[in-house]
């Protein structure tokens, strides 16, 4: 497959861009694979890429019930950061951020990773103390993290109202300058293309209807395109994790909730970093097209409908108008929802299941996009060895039995 470069761009320009090759094949499923990954979102595709690249296993298929990146990968607000509190989370998210930094070169696909900085606002004394604690913890982990005063917040992001008389006064913020945003579709497509180049079969419109389990050991899956055997199976299906676990006969500590986002009409550049506020549950950045990309909080009820409640939108827009008064004159163009799989401790689950040979990677909740490369990397190592690696180890499903929870719910900037 042709390598993308400035020369290929120029060459294709001469033929009016009519001769670009397909970025990946569309093969029929083979009867058997060494490793089968269920779920063609960012995490599943990244898993397949690292299985082929890092572990030399290329008899791999990724099966996806819809189209690539059509779930949460294409529905998030594309924020990437690694400023988590606890050791285990800091390790995997920082590993992920380091992979993000070289991802476009690794994949030969421009994922438009922009390290524009991610700011987390503090609105009250409690926020401010937690934020200071987290910044110091980050720095002890070697993760870049700085504290900004309200005046510095104003200098970095002048559209924010930092008046002490505002509804949500800004006491200060933390900033991770290596954090930023990336192009979400490009991440799915880049991983798909790179994995396909190494021989991975990417099979779309292929829904799992059941597992073939013999004596507690996985043998394959039944799909809408027939039975596919595999020695090991990895599940990376986010909001549908419980549905697949149910098919395999075990229960999960996961609830599927709608999480919403919206974008404004495009305006001139006014915001050159990502700003998040956990207290009012709003996060905002400006896309390269000029739209404000706004993330909201999740609904608290279980739903698979891929749409959330309007009062959530009303709530965050009310808060955003207080924080950034100019937003009150902007129009919002589109709003959508995705279904996120939330665990009790707000940390992901990566590792073994009660079925031998069946592995799961889920529970990334409202913050899965940033974790895509690190998640894929750790899950690939887990699938290749049949045992979790050092990054995945603490995130076992068994931690809910042993009690070794990784409680990021109150610890990290909660709005992942």
């Amino acid at each position: 497959m042709a390598k993308y470069s400035v020369f290929s761009l120029a060459r294709n320009a001469l033929s009016y861009h009519e001769n670009w090759q397909r970025a990946w094949r569309s093969p029929a499923p083979k009867p058997e694979y060494d490793i089968l990954v269920i779920g063609g979102g960012g995490h599943g595709l990244a898993t397949a890429h690292y299985l082929a690249k890092e572990h030399g296993i290329n008899n791999v298929a990724v099966i996806e019930k819809g189209w690539l990146g059509g779930g949460n990968t294409g529905r998030n607000t594309t924020i990437v950061r690694s400023n988590y509190l606890w050791d285990e989370s800091a390790a995997i998210y920082e590993h992920s951020l380091k992979l993000w930094e070289g991802l476009s070169q690794d994949l030969n696909f421009n994922v438009m990773f922009s390290q524009r900085g991610v700011m987390n606002l503090a609105h009250n004394l409690h926020d401010w103390r937690e934020l200071n604690r987290r910044v110091h913890a980050n720095r002890l982990h070697g993760i870049d993290s700085e504290i900004l005063t309200a005046a510095q917040v104003k200098a970095e992001a002048p559209i924010f109202n930092v008046s002490p008389n505002s509804r949500y006064p800004i006491m200060g913020a933390s900033i991770q300058r290596r954090g930023g945003t990336a192009r979400h579709d490009a991440v799915a497509w880049g991983y798909a293309r790179a994995a396909d180049q190494r021989g991975v079969d990417i099979i779309q419109n292929c829904e799992v209807t059941g597992f073939v389990i013999n004596n507690g050991k996985i043998e394959g899956v039944e799909t809408t395109r027939g039975r596919i055997n595999a020695k090991r199976v990895g599940v990376a299906v986010a909001g549908n994790s419980s549905v697949l676990a149910d098919m395999a006969g075990f229960r999960m500590p996961v609830e599927s909730n709608p999480l919403q986002a919206l974008v404004s009409d495009p305006i001139k550049p006014v915001l050159d970093c990502v700003v998040m506020s956990s207290a009012v549950h709003v996060y905002v950045s400006q896309s390269d097209k000029g739209e404000f990309v706004i993330g909201a909080g999740s609904d608290l009820h279980v739903s698979y409908s891929q749409r959330g409640s309007f009062d959530i939108i009303e709530g965050i827009m009310g808060a955003l108008c207080e924080l950034v008064p100019m937003v009150s004159r902007m129009k919002m163009m589109r709003q959508w929802g995705g279904i996120v799989d939330v665990t009790p401790d707000r940390s992901p689950i990566i590792g073994k299941t009660p079925v031998e040979g069946l592995f799961i990677n889920c529970g990334w909740g409202t913050g899965g996009f940033k974790g895509t490369p690190g998640s894929g990397h750790a899950f690939a190592a887990t699938l290749a060895a049949g045992e979790p690696n050092d990054k995945a180890g603490p995130f076992s499903l068994d931690r809910f039995r042993t009690g070794f929870l990784i409680d990021e719910a109150g610890a990290a900037a909660v709005a992942h």
Binding site: P253, E255, S256, H301, V302, Y304, R401, T402
Partner: protein, 93 residues
């Protein structure tokens, strides 16, 4: 936004209510007698059903009473509302 038929107050907007997750989870009668795995199943595992799901709501900004709702989690359609202590009705999505 849901319109929820509170069994005590009648139909109100979702913003008056708060969802508290899956209904009919029984706390083990003798917590000391159960294994860690059984306790974890009670404490953390949820059926998270895709389809007809039975859940608890509380009318925070109304009568402040708890009740159960049967809802289809795919269509988000509310299929039945019933009081605490009542058996879950058989409903079809």
């Amino acid at each position: 936004m849901f319109l929820i038929d509170c069994p005590y107050c009648g139909t109100r907007q979702q913003t008056e209510f708060h969802c508290h997750g899956e209904a009919h989870i029984a706390r083990p009668k003798d917590p000391d007698a159960v294994s860690d795995a059984e306790w974890a199943d009670y404490m953390f595992n949820r059926s998270n059903t895709k389809g007809v799901f039975y859940e608890r709501w509380v009318h925070n900004h109304g009568c402040r009473r708890w009740f159960n709702v049967a809802r289809d989690t795919v269509s988000d359609r509310i299929l039945a509302v019933y009081r605490m202590g009542e058996q879950p009705p058989k409903v079809k999505s």
